[in-house]
């Protein structure tokens, strides 16, 4: 589950927290897949009209995670932005999607699995934000 690690290890400008970045990017794209698959499964459920909030939050979360997983691998970047703000947005998207999916988890197994993917992604985003602060790369530490 560490797809992009070998790529980051061969980058000419290695990051001190490359393992956090790799984990975050991997879990972002795993969350994209889970959310899109959950939205499609919801569309096939007999009571789809009860799942429209879930589908919308799935799609939102997939879009936000795709952007975050793309931005976070750009480790040659100078300065913490826009990564820091995008990680915060992603943690929020994952939090609200997980919350909604969990409400349907007993009825629909795909929602339960999706909630776990969102939760794992949320934690990985927060771990990169912590690692950035330790590395003195957060916006606050620059001022």
């Amino acid at each position: 589950m560490a797809n992009v690690s070998p790529m980051l290890e061969t980058h000419p400008q290695p990051s001190t927290y490359a393992s956090n970045v790799a984990r975050c990017s991997d879990l972002c794209f795993a969350c994209v897949e889970a959310c899109l698959a959950c939205a499609d499964a919801c569309l096939s459920e007999p009571r789809v009209e009860r799942l429209t909030s879930c589908i919308r939050l799935n799609l939102d979360c997939a879009d936000v995670c795709a952007a975050t997983g793309s931005v976070v691998v750009r480790i040659g970047r100078v300065g913490p932005q826009p990564l820091q703000a995008q990680l915060a947005a992603c943690a929020e998207a994952c939090r609200v999607c997980a919350e909604e999916c969990r409400r349907h988890a007993e009825m629909h197994a795909h929602c339960g699995i999706c909630a776990e993917a969102c939760e794992a992604c949320r934690r990985a985003c927060e771990e990169v934000m912590v690692a950035m602060r330790h590395a003195g790369e957060s916006e606050a530490s620059r001022n």
Copy 2:
């Protein structure tokens, strides 16, 4: 330049600030195009090695704007998140990309045009955030 307006006007659950949303989505995707075109133009410049920060921020901004332009049109959503956090991330991505592009604007006309697209998108994101607050939909106003 109001591509998506007629779509939002025929939505069964109209938004009170649909015109802000339409403008924001249109300018997000216009910014995606500008940033991707600017990155490609930079790659063709004779001194590309001086433009690597610009290219990276262009790509970041394109990814973040694509997500934001997608999330913002989902006006059937209940609750302000993840839109609110994503708009904030997008305003930040546009701000840093515009700042970098402006540094090269005298030398490279495409950087100047791109900076304007970023700036227009940043303002449109902030206008939706203001409209959400007025409509009582911001996270703060819920607590």
Copy 3:
């Protein structure tokens, strides 16, 4: 409606069919917005269970058009691929989405508007494919 034209005109390696490219990219992203807005409007319709095929094709078309609009602006590219194959895929995605949307156009105005956006994007993709053949850049003409 020619957002990205000024960017392509300031590119250090201008394309002989830049106006076709600009139009195609603009209409691809206009189609992304229309398809995402149509999917969201469909989710709010009282008989959403009858619109699940429409929602799925909207989401497919949005994903494919976003990729195509991004790939087509990279005019510094050498060789016709992967642009040519992606344009063909995009024309197909637009064709099937327009077809499905048109079936619901009388009942749902957003589906009718979306079908037009898909149709305009499909034609723009085909115009770039024709322009590439005239410029001798298609795969066939290379062999």
Copy 4:
């Protein structure tokens, strides 16, 4: 490496070739990560001006794979399109990117790793196309 498998197994309309689909989506997003990381690594190389074709094809491949990985998981879809055409476009994007990356693999390890990710994704796309034909879902078999 089979992230999305459990999601597809709990889908109310299971696909007869869900394992091929899961593998294809996983490898598409692994390829997105590899291509974006390779582009960023190339931008940090001392002779970046020799790698601009590689960077462009990396970005193209990332965009096309992201769309394909999203479209392929929508297994509730009726009819083979636009999946079939998008899989063909993706196989082509992976082929040309792998070809270019391989040319730099001796000099730059990240290009070698990226070429392998592209190659794995290309094969997975072709396997889904074969599975669709066996399931009688290809466009040709319908006529």
